[in-house]
Symmetry: C2
Subunit: 211 residues, 2 copies
DNA sequence: CTTTGCTTGTGAAATCAATCACAAACGAAC
DNA sequence: GTTCGTTTGTGATTGATTTCACAAGCAAAG
């Protein structure tokens, strides 16, 4: 089955299904129903079925879905059947936190380049990598065949960094800088803005008791 | 004007408008049109107008919106007309990165408590705070009148931590642990899952060239 | 005071996403 | 091999969000 257009939120739910499937597999279950998946994933059974049906028909009526096979299929669908080579720009505290976080490696993402423009940081040894000068970014991105970029710099540098990444051939960027990046539409861009998350909490707390 | 129900995405756009308004104010502009706001915020003029119209009528036809007044109003709407007291649970690398990030203070969020259960971390001095034992969380949350919690712990501890936060009276939680938290519906919960963000990039790269 | 050029505010329309509801399919039991 | 209980896959429906399109309103110019 060939997906016409999958909504961003449906893709994110696929990631959740994967986590839940991991848990079921660990628990030794061999089949799950859409109801089981929905229960642990926090959505409705109908939504689970619709999401999965976009990519094919993986279940057996009356039985449910075979856990390990579905896990493999979802892994494949999400593009996690291979490893991804990631470059991290910004060797500050947040950059370090992401670099040393194990969860990425576990899901198939290898940070194979770290960049900064601060002379104090350049040359630092991070695990088995060395922090590179942003000047060398183009060269290193090609040499290490980096496919995705994570931007963890102050807002002001984010746009030029994004431009450099894209010029070097990177097609997907995860941006933590609190600024809106302008990129060509073919470039995949996701933003994580921590200030906005907190502000959304503030809004909710402020308006919860009847305006 | 009394908002009936504002969508989560509309609230997030309000945060963006605020950033754009800051930029315009800094640039000395006194009025902006919905088109100006849309241009820099990356949405359509109609959406800007509809979003703002949920909360009242702030503009003048033919002229646009008065920058500093609109900025004040949006600040007020988002609940940023006051400071918020935040507790941070998890004194690891990511916790430290968030703690030392200045952007929060700038937007009105003060981290006034840091907690961990690792004896090596407890007692560490962070800025003008000391990392507290999670055992003391209930006491400190009350003493410091903490209103929001940020969870930056491994997945396994996140649910019990959330329960403790809520038991202590916290009504809004920002969760960075890669696990789904179950909380009462009155509790406001936002999740930031970095693995999901990367997986969404992987999906996009995998499917961009016609399946 | 009237005209002109803009821009808001907002119902109506269109698009997009989630839910419903049910026929079809399967295994197990007998 | 028929019945029963269960669960999928999906067209139809409902609901939410975004976009459209235009009347109403304002300032400036003459």
């Amino acid at each position: 089955m060939r997906p016409t257009k999958i909504s961003e939120s449906a893709v994110r739910r696929l990631s959740l299904y994967l986590r839940v499937l991991d848990a079921f597999e660990l628990a030794g279950k061999t089949t799950v129903s859409s109801g089981d998946l929905a229960e642990l994933g926090g959505m409705t059974p109908a939504q689970v079925r619709k999401d999965l049906s976009h990519f094919g028909s993986f279940g057996k009526r009356g039985l449910g879905y075979p856990v390990s096979e579905l896990r493999e299929r979802v892994t494949e669908i999400l593009g996690l059947g291979r490893r991804w080579r990631v470059g991290l720009v910004g060797a500050g505290k947040l950059g370090a936190a992401l670099f040393f976080y194990d969860g990425f490696r576990g899901q198939g993402f290898d940070v194979v380049g770290v960049f900064d423009n601060d002379p104090d940081k350049i040359g630092q040894r991070w695990g088995r990598l060395v922090v590179e000068d942003i000047e060398s970014m183009d060269r290193v991105i090609h040499a290490a065949r980096i496919e995705m970029g994570i931007i963890v710099t102050p807002a002001a540098s984010a746009q030029p960094i994004a431009d450099l990444l894209i010029a070097a051939g990177v097609e997907a960027i995860l941006n933590f800088a609190p600024t809106r990046l302008r990129v060509r539409p073919e470039i995949t861009l996701r933003n994580v803005n921590l200030e906005i998350e907190l502000e959304s909490l503030a809004f909710a707390l402020t308006h919860e008791n009847g305006v």
